[in-house]
Symmetry: C2
Subunit: 241 residues, 2 copies
DNA sequence: GGGCTACCTGTCCATATGGCTAGTACTCAT
DNA sequence: ATGAGTACTAGCCATATGGACAGGTAGCCC
């Protein structure tokens, strides 16, 4: 279905809209104002391109660092923040952004658009105020647009498979997910690189017993009993690369 | 820099071009014809959006399955195929696509646009005829456009960090990378889920010795001696999810 | 048939890992 | 300052894992 563009309106907002304002479908009334936070230029371009086809949304800004996200939300007070929690370094930081935005800017609804699924991250993000969670690779244009509309109206939006995770963890006691400590992280990273306890102990200047202790605790936090799965889950959660 | 769209040309090719033909910058002379293969709608939209800004490229088709890629390359004989090797199931299939395209359609240059870096995959893809390898999350719009131009002209294009991998493996004897067999894959997957040899043996109806045998062989192929690293590498290579 | 490969099984033994208990150092709120 | 909580350190012991053997079956290609 090819579309025809007739005119163009000069936009007051940087590169925020191209022909979307010009569709002539209706006057530029109340639009959902969106900030897109994603480290990848390609993803940002994709999200922009998709949302620009929808006359009900307008992208007011983009961000590619955690700081920039916060600054942008503060400046633009968007209706919806679309964010990939993994903005380069640490997914934990992404979770903190959820906290901050949810607390300080309750009018900005958070829609997570993640690169991968991790039960850990999903549950924790929702717990911290995100309303939606979609997986980039499994989200069609229409689904994305619908998800934005949903969270904008205060509803939830879950991508394929996410809903099941959510309901599974519905009655979960308290924090199903806990953060790994610095030391635990160090140890898990080295484990992923194939080092044994002895070698890890040596390279971190601690005893082998301590290495085992950290791995043990990290394992408890990620609900597993095997190093292989520990590494796998940590990777899936974006905790290690 | 807002641009102005004045007219639209009806395109013979489905959704292949929007306003790109209509930019009016110059006559639609020799353009680099591109097919984009990516499972993610968002990525495809992003790549399209970026390349449409370049007057020297035109996207003639999109594909989201391995079969569709081959069909599309056959039908459109593009100058460049931009592909994410991981089209859903198995990255191995992506590598096969490289083989096929490089052999049967030598005029189509292959540019890999991967979600993650894996030494394994990088080296293997280049060995099989890909000319460029970029990482989605670390590729800017300009870099993407330049990379397309480069491979179209028969040059190579490597994203951040990829060049180093390539030169490191320059004088590598023969196949640094080997494929895992079906059975090895089964075992590695279960290992990633935290099963022990005994449990794996039971769930695959084979003996524990055999499990160890497969893990041992898979470990050799992925150059490691620890299950944890085996799982990590297999994950990084996209061999398991 | 001979040379491949994938797949399967076993034993023996050294080492790595996981589960347990116990103790230290430090922060924080009472 | 006292008690609670948390990160960290440590030693002991059963089990899991990895390495080096030494085999056997079936299918495929030349």
């Amino acid at each position: 279905m090819g579309h025809t563009v007739l005119t163009v309106t000069k936009s007051p907002i940087s590169v925020a809209n191209r022909d979307d304002v010009a569709r002539g479908r209706r006057a530029p009334q109340a639009r959902t104002r969106v900030v897109v936070a994603d480290y990848s230029s390609i993803s940002r371009a994709g999200i922009r391109s998709i949302l620009e086809r929808s006359p009900s949304t307008a992208i007011v800004d983009e961000a590619k660092t955690y700081d920039a996200v916060l600054a942008s939300v503060e400046e633009h007070a968007p209706d919806v923040l679309i964010i990939d929690l993994d903005l380069g370094d640490d997914t934990n930081k992404g979770l903190l952004v959820c906290n901050t935005v949810a607390e300080r800017f309750p009018n900005t609804k958070i829609l997570i658009l993640a690169s991968s699924v991790s039960e850990l991250i999903v549950i924790e993000a929702l717990r911290r105020g995100a309303l939606g969670y979609m997986i980039k690779s499994q989200t069609t244009s229409d689904e994305l647009i619908k998800a934005v509309r949903a969270v904008q109206e205060g509803e939830t939006a879950f991508g394929k498979g996410i809903g099941a995770l959510v309901s599974k963890n519905f009655g979960a006691p308290h924090s199903v997910t806990e953060q790994l400590t610095e030391r635990e992280l160090d140890v898990v990273k080295l484990t992923a690189q194939g080092l044994g306890n002895k070698q890890i102990a040596h390279s971190l200047f601690i005893s082998e017993s301590t290495v085992k202790f950290h791995i043990h605790n990290a394992s408890i936090k990620l609900h597993t009993r095997k190093r292989a799965e520990l590494v796998h889950r940590a990777t899936a959660a974006g905790i290690i690369k």
